[in-house]
Symmetry: C2
Subunit: 213 residues, 2 copies
DNA sequence: TATATCATGTAATCGGTTACATGATTAA
DNA sequence: TTAATCATGTAACCGATTACATGATATA
């Protein structure tokens, strides 16, 4: 049995090519950051490497566009074989989700943190997740048009407003927004908890629950 | 400048040793699955390797317990240096969270899936996350006692009921439950959408009113 | 009888990150 | 003047996974 020939990032690239036709590695990196930030991240070096691999698999075609003063643009487009692979992938059960969140680990072991460190980490988390929430709420401008595939040779401008929106992208954006809202709600509650319980244990006697946030 | 000497899994192990005193690699693996499943996963091979590394760093001490008919138990306990490292880690800002969820990727590119594949994947996700939610709701039996650190030489039975619960573990469990509830709510809505193929736009960002459950 | 669990590890590989490299153009 | 962006890659490394290995004991 042969080795795995593809993994999530492969299909991430393939999906972007299916939506937006021929793209360079640089284009793909930009779209990754805008479109796939909510579910998968990728460094540009990995995208370039993966594109080379996908070319060997005949999942993509490369056309070199010469430029003066800059390296040539290597523009990739999905092949029939690539389209088939993308469809086959959808027929396999998804990997079990695995959370990897260092902030949660730090909260769990908050007992071993010095005064104030945990609160500071929670505030950092709040800043990060507030920024994400904002990004996702503004991300509708990136919604791709529907039904390009399987005639995906045309190139669409991801920044242009389109009349027909892809319903799955809307679905993902909704998930990302709800996730960030849930995360933030918890972060604020956790921060409130660690700030108020460290002040003085004796305060628990009288009513200190009036706290307008 | 020297290489990183530790990363999240290192502190995961260290934190478990701080809570529950001397433990073997096998014990740690079991606790990882029960306590840290919501925020970090680890294979047993990685834990054994990491323990050897931590021994070289003098973050843990190892004592060999001989057994007949089985390999010796190598029982690790945290050193002062390890305790210091755990505390220093809490003073550093946490890594930015990076989601890696293949199911979300498949939903985003749902346009390229054959009839029924997407719904099937969503159902798999529902099964997985329902199981997680159940696990987290039952996980209160694993809540560790508070304030062992910094005198953490005693060993506590993680299965025993304790009067004083660690508030941070409770916090994490709450997060995990809220996360799974949010995820599941979205999964059911997404499944309904792909099964019924509404023309109207489902899933507007819901209001602030909470359902009183 | 077959599987699972206890209990421990090693080896090989892989997916992903970090660092290095180039050089023009544009914005602060 | 400094930094960022455009645009492309290579090389080294590292954290994590998968497969391999052993052998008793308990459970179905």
């Amino acid at each position: 049995m042969e080795r795995n020939e593809a993994y999530p990032i492969t299909y991430g690239i393939l999906g972007l090519l299916a939506f937006w036709g021929p793209l360079s590695g640089y284009d793909i990196k930009r779209l990754f950051d805008h479109m796939l930030a909510a579910m998968w991240g990728a460094a540009h070096s990995q995208i370039y490497k993966e594109l080379r691999r996908m070319e060997e698999l005949d999942w993509v075609d490369m056309k070199r566009e010469e430029q003066e003063a800059r390296p040539d643009r290597k523009v990739y487009s999905m092949t029939d074989k690539g389209r088939e692979a993308l469809s086959k992938w959808q027929a396999q059960p998804p990997d079990v989700f695995q959370m990897r969140d260092e902030l949660l680990l730090k909260v769990l072991f908050g007992t071993f943190a010095a005064q104030g460190d945990l609160a500071q980490n929670l505030r950092t988390g709040i800043t990060n997740h507030e920024m994400r929430l904002l990004t996702y709420r503004q991300s509708t401008q990136y919604i791709p048009v529907q039904g390009i595939f399987p005639h995906g040779d045309k190139r669409y401008n991801p920044y242009a407003a389109e009349s027909e929106e892809d319903p799955y992208f809307r679905l993902i954006t909704q998930f990302a927004i709800e996730f960030e809202k849930t995360y933030l709600k918890w972060l604020y509650e956790a921060l409130d908890f660690v700030e108020n319980r460290h002040e003085d244990v004796a305060l628990e006697e009288n009513g200190d629950e009036e706290d307008p946030s």
